[in-house]
């Protein structure tokens, strides 16, 4: 009995040890998976950032040109973009005006995006309709061909004049 109890106790301890080991290994696997996922996300963030940096770099010349033109227009209309007086006078209304304009521009851009999406939809719908019409045309032609009495054609066929229901038989 004592020996059996010892074996049972030993196996119980071993089982507990295996359970702990399994738990630790499971935790390590989860940690490794999380680390991998974090690495993937970091890589993707770097891709996004790199794209934006590239655009920023490419935009420099275009941006300077636009800002130069804006300054020139302002100067022609008597405004100095860096004048403290101008800044003080405009600061009060700038915030509200900017907000309103941002909303308006956003609406215009949203509409533009919707227009593009609509155009793409119509384009694909048009192609679909065209393909459907081709299929319908083929189906109709097949039906007509299927109903044609080929035995009426050629020298061995029934003369058209013997069938009064056939088009042209009476004329």
């Amino acid at each position: 009995m004592g020996a059996l109890a010892g074996v049972a106790a030993g196996s119980s301890v071993a089982s507990a040890g295996l359970g702990i080991l399994s738990s630790v290994m499971g935790g390590e696997a989860t940690q490794a998976a999380d680390q991998y996922q974090a690495g993937v996300l970091t890589e993707k963030a770097q891709i996004g950032q790199a794209q934006a940096v590239e655009v920023n770099a490419n935009a420099t010349m275009r941006l300077n040109q636009s800002l130069g033109n804006i300054d020139a227009v302002r100067a022609a209309s008597g405004d100095s973009p860096t004048s403290p007086t101008t800044a003080a006078l405009r600061r009060v209304t700038t915030s509200n005006a900017d907000q309103n304009k941002a909303i308006q521009i956003g609406n215009i851009l949203s509409q533009s995006e919707m227009d593009v999406a609509g155009a793409n939809y119509l384009k694909s719908a048009g192609s679909f309709a065209l393909s459907q019409s081709v299929v319908a045309g083929l189906a109709g032609a097949a039906g007509t061909i299927g109903k044609t009495n080929f035995s009426s054609f050629g020298p061995g066929g029934t003369p058209a004049s013997s069938n009064p229901t056939q088009i042209g038989a009476l004329y």
Binding site: Q49, Q51, E54, N56, A59, S66, L67, D98, K101, I105
Partner: protein, 108 residues
Amino acid sequence: MLDAQQAAARLPVHAGDPPEVFVEQARLLAWYSEHIGRDVEKIIAQCGSAAEQRVAAAAYLAEIGSNIPDRTIRATVRRLAALKFRTLGVDVQHPIAGQCEDVETWVH
């Protein structure tokens, strides 16, 4: 990144500007729109899952336009980029906090 003094010294485009200023701004935004559209498609193609797309989009939005000294144009460019992502199904309503200025102007 944008020089703070450079940005502070410059008045943003505002409602009192002559119409030609807005025409110039629109031209610049059209340039950005074309490039951003290409970038967004490229990013989405390179990111398999929605989580990856969100992370890449947030990083893109945090960086794009950071060299524009005019804060009105900068905010509009970011808004445009966010719109492009949203149009293609990427949820960019929750950008990484603290990484993107002018967030209030393009997040609803």
